[in-house]
């Protein structure tokens, strides 16, 4: 019970901190002070108080995008073990629910973009759904490989504990590398997309929410942060599937690990430029092949 409450508290409260950590890391690389660590929270507080303008002619779908964008990753987080602690919910096949919840959020975000009737946002929606179709198999090949290693059909079982690294180290390295790419792609990070430019440079995810403002945009930002947090936790559990003996130490290790992943993303964003758009599919297909090889290594 306490574990579930801590799990909930972490997933509700921690995500905006991650964006702050990434921004600080990038600022450090650029020799700037950067925004305060808690800037994400300040932004949310400000946006929630603001009024907003809805595009003329838009419908309920325009607001369904932000709503689904928050609700889906929140539920998905409940299926995921955080660090050494069991997930609050677990059943055979929960990784399918996990993946399809993100698909649901994607559909409504893209639909909300099309609801504005803007060509620019429609283009972003088209790219989003096309690129994620290439990222999806990378995730699934990884799931299949993890299911094979652990013999379990739920996320808690797959990500449960560490012996996988002893018996199946090579496949896990491949899956982890592939999922690192998925983590960056799905969260619109450099090299796929630049989350800091809401205008011309940002051609995929952020362009879809150009017309959202005020509380709705607050939900968009919060949902994106929760998604980043959840996928980071998934990635973290693959590369660091170990449990401490003390449950409190486990929680500490988990929070530290997620923040480390955020710093890692910040480093990647600092040392790389955004890829040309035509290169993005190549990188995603490459990630797919990595995890497919990982799966093949296990087929004996």
């Amino acid at each position: 019970m306490i574990d579930t409450l801590v799990h909930l508290a972490l997933v509700l409260a921690l995500p905006p901190l991650l964006t702050g950590v990434i921004a600080k890391t990038k600022a450090a690389f650029a020799g700037r002070n950067g925004p305060p660590l808690l800037q994400g929270y300040y932004d949310l507080a400000k946006l929630l108080r603001k009024g907003s303008i809805l595009p003329a002619g838009s419908t309920w779908v325009f607001l369904a995008g932000p709503v689904a964008g928050v609700a889906a990753p929140l539920l998905a987080s409940l299926l995921l073990p955080f660090g050494g602690h069991e997930a609050p919910l677990s059943f055979a096949g929960d990784m399918i629910l996990f993946a399809y919840l993100f698909a649901l959020a994607r559909f409504f975000t893209a639909s909300a973009a099309l609801d504005t009737g803007s060509a620019f946002e429609g283009m972003g929606a088209a790219r989003e759904v096309a690129f994620s179709a290439l990222a999806e198999p990378a995730l699934f090949f990884g799931f299949v490989a993890l299911a094979r290693i652990s013999g379990s059909l739920s996320l808690s079982g797959m990500l449960g504990s560490g012996p996988g690294w002893v018996t199946a180290g090579a496949p896990l390295v491949l899956v982890a590398a592939s999922w690192a790419v998925v983590l960056l792609a799905e969260n619109c990070r450099i090299p796929f997309d630049d989350p800091n430019t809401h205008l011309a440079l940002t051609m995929i995810h952020e362009v879809m929410v150009l017309d959202h403002g005020g509380p709705a945009f607050g939900l968009v930002l919060y949902g994106a942060a929760v998604k980043l947090f959840v996928l980071s936790a998934l990635f973290l559990r693959v590369v660091f599937p170990f449990n401490a003996t003390d449950p409190n130490l486990d929680w500490l290790a988990f929070v530290a690990g997620v923040l480390l992943v955020a710093i890692g993303i910040g480093v990647v964003e600092s040392v790389m430029a955004r890829l040309k758009l035509v290169k993005v599919p190549q990188l995603l297909v490459g990630a797919c092949l990595l995890s497919a090889f990982g799966m093949l290594l296990l087929a004996r």
């Binding site: 639909s111 099309l114 504005t116 994620s132 179709a133 198999p137 150009l210 017309d211 509380p215 939900l219």
Partner: protein
């Protein structure tokens, strides 16, 4: 299982009512509304009887078996209903009933005096023939009912036979269905040689697998797979489903494809221990159909053709499940059977619901806006809010979003595929099928985002779309009923699971009667024991609650903080117009172009910009009447052979007497052969 069981009587009544539903209308006054109402009433009454019988067989363990004496060669006519038949009977009765009510508004006698009566007659006949196909257990009766079904579908689909594109699609369908039927004739004959009769009933332990069994299986895959629209036998499907009146499209896409899948299931169920490559082939065909069906759907510019290709995808998902179940049967893995077939059967039910909803919704759009080109529509959600909301639910169910209908069935298939690779004796093919289905799902997401987003959202792209309106009660009613069904059907999966279990047992039973020692000696576990459907349904309700909570908080905040309406900002366009919006062609082209084999890729018309001040550059996907695969591969092949056989045209006199002479001559030749055979060929 006795002859005079109430199930048999209920089903006989249901089939008679549905089959004859169009008949009174033929006699009624032309243009009057009495005939059409009576026919809808008859279909509805028949459907109620049929659904009651199906529910009895599925959940109360009913069933029947009768032998009717027959003057035809091939033994008595054998009819029987087990849980497998009953499960497929549910869409066979439910969809035509809703479609018949919809037809009152969509194809009213008053507006279609020329063809409405013909349509209703063949519509009823089609539904009744499908029901007979599902009950037939003797090869002869099966083939007769199959042919009636195929022909009734041809006449119903070519209702608008004054349009050249509809005629052409009709001919292609007719040729394709008869090519498939030819395969089924061969299959039936071969099967009769092994069993010594035309009864499709397996002896204890199932039929033994011989060399000819594999030919039977391959013929079944071609014949039944062609009817089901499996890639690459799907080429007839988009034209026929797209050109038919929308409620006929719904019956063809939502139900008739499943009858093909049923045939495949029934025939393979006769074999006790099928070789592993049978299941492997189906896994491959299924995953391929899912992937290419979705990619082709994303590339379509025509509302109904997009939905038709999405049916290819869904048939692929079902076939993947069937392949896994067959593999489980070969390898003696009951849980693969339960998950593969369980997911497949659930998907058969759910796909029939959401695809019918989508076709009826598309019909409402065509009715209201007068065009089926995605790129001429837009902004319809404001004009037809209720149809639009139901359509959105249909799209979400088709995309398997939790907790709607499609999610539960796809989840079960996925768990089966994962399970087949996770444990010992794993199947690598299954391991590849899961990511393949995931890509298919993600590409289908692109297709349906395009469909819903471009048609219903944004602003109108044409004058017609700007003046669309909500349809009348007869059309809106079935759409809303289906919308509600699609929303709750998934949550009801735990209640449906016992019926699905019964159907799985019926599929396994002929080969392995209780008590015998076969490959699957240990019983197939109930579906709910492997996948906790109840928990997932509760979780789904919780998710809906969470969505409502977030939406409520947002609404509260918006009201407090004040909101206004203004022009779409779009990075500073002062006056965006409908024509500046992103088009459906641009939306789907990229992904469709990359994921389809080049022979099957959609035909695109590209007019690149020319010069420094280009005018009129465009990319569009025109709606060809023919599938690209047909256009690029089959037609050149067929016309080459047609040229070679050109001289045989001399035989085609076109006079009935000459043909009768041919028949007589053939008969005499055959009689002579059978008389002389013993003499010519020494034993």
């Amino acid at each position: 299982m006795e002859a005079a069981s109430p199930d048999g009587l209920l089903l006989a009544g249901a089939i008679a009512l549905v089959a004859l539903s169009g008949l009174p209308g033929l006699l009624a006054r032309k243009g009057g509304s009495g005939g059409e109402r009576l026919s809808a009433l008859l279909v509805g009454a028949g459907a109620l009887l049929g659904l009651a019988a199906s529910a009895r067989v599925l959940f109360l363990g009913g069933g029947f078996r009768v032998e009717l004496p027959s003057p035809l060669p091939g033994g008595p006519l054998l009819l029987s209903a087990d849980a497998l038949s009953a499960l497929f009977l549910v869409p066979v009765f439910l969809v035509p009933a809703l479609g018949a009510v919809y037809g009152l508004g969509y194809w009213p006698e008053a507006e279609h005096r020329r063809d409405a009566r013909k349509l209703r007659f063949f519509y009823g006949l089609l539904a009744a023939a499908m029901a007979v196909v599902l009950l037939a257990r003797s090869g002869v009766l099966f083939l007769v009912a199959w042919e009636v079904m195929a022909l009734a579908a041809f006449f119903a689909a070519t209702t608008e036979d004054r349009q050249p594109s509809v005629r052409e699609a009709g001919w292609i369908y007719l040729v394709a269905t008869h090519a498939g039927t030819l395969g089924l004739f061969g299959m039936t004959a071969l099967l009769a040689r092994t069993t010594g009769g035309f009864a499709w009933e397996a002896p204890d332990g199932g039929l033994a697998v011989t060399a000819s069994s594999s030919v039977v299986f391959l013929l079944a895959v071609v014949g039944f797979g062609g009817k089901a629209g499996l890639f690459p036998f799907h080429f007839w499907l988009p034209g026929a489903h797209g050109g038919a009146p929308s409620h006929v499209s719904a019956v063809m896409s939502g139900v008739m494809l499943k009858v093909g899948l049923y045939g495949l299931l029934r025939v393979v169920s006769l074999y006790g221990a099928p070789p592993a490559w049978w299941g492997g082939l189906l896994l491959l065909l299924g995953a391929g159909s899912a992937l290419f069906g979705a990619a082709l759907a994303a590339g379509q510019g025509d509302l109904k053709r997009l939905l038709a290709y999405s049916s290819v995808e869904n048939v692929g998902i079902v076939t993947t499940g069937i392949g896994l179940a067959l593999l489980g049967r070969s390898e003696g893995r009951p849980e693969w059977v339960a998950l593969g077939l369980g997911g497949a059967l659930l998907h058969v039910l759910y796909h029939s619901l959401f695809k019918t909803l989508l076709f009826l919704g598309a019909g409402a759009v065509i009715h209201a806006a007068g065009t089926r080109e995605v790129d001429r529509l837009g902004g319809l959600l404001r004009k037809m809010p209720r149809t639009g909301a139901a359509f959105a639910a249909g799209c979400a169910a088709a995309l398997a979003f939790p907790p709607l209908a499609g999610f539960f069935s796809e989840l079960v298939v996925y768990v089966g595929l994962f399970r087949a690779f996770a444990g010992p004796d794993s199947s690598l093919l299954a391991a590849f099928a899961a990511p393949a289905l995931a890509v298919a799902g993600a590409v289908a997401l692109a297709a349906f985002t395009k469909l819903f987003g471009v048609v219903f959202l944004g602003s109108p792209r044409s004058e017609e779309a700007a003046h669309a309106h909500e349809p009348g009660r007869a059309m809106l009613g079935p759409i809303l009923v289906l919308g509600a069904l699609v929303a709750v059907a998934g949550l009801l999966s735990p209640l449906l699971a016992p019926g699905v279990d019964a159907a799985i047992r019926a599929w396994v039973a002929p080969a392995v009667p209780p008590g015998s020692v076969g490959e699957l000696a240990h019983p197939v576990p109930p579906l709910a024991a492997i996948v906790p459907l109840g928990t997932i349904a509760l979780l789904g309700v919780a998710f809906l609650g969470l969505l409502a909570l977030v939406a409520g908080l947002l609404a509260l905040r918006l009201r407090r903080a004040s909101f206004d309406r203004g022009a779409t900002w779009d990075c500073g366009y002062a006056r965006p117009t409908g024509r500046m919006q992103y088009t459906g062609s641009s939306f789907g082209d990229w992904i469709a172009g990359r994921l389809t084999p080049s022979a099957a890729a959609p035909v695109l018309e590209v007019r690149p910009p020319v010069g420094s001040f280009p005018r009129g550059a465009a990319v569009s996907a025109p709606a060809p009447a023919r599938d690209p695969l047909l256009l690029r591969l089959l037609e050149p092949f067929a016309s080459r052979w047609a040229r070679r056989f050109h001289d045989l045209h001399a035989l085609q006199e076109g006079r009935l007497t000459i043909y009768l002479v041919y028949v007589l001559g053939t008969l005499v030749a055959l009689l002579a052969w059978s008389a002389l055979r013993g003499w010519v060929l020494p034993r």
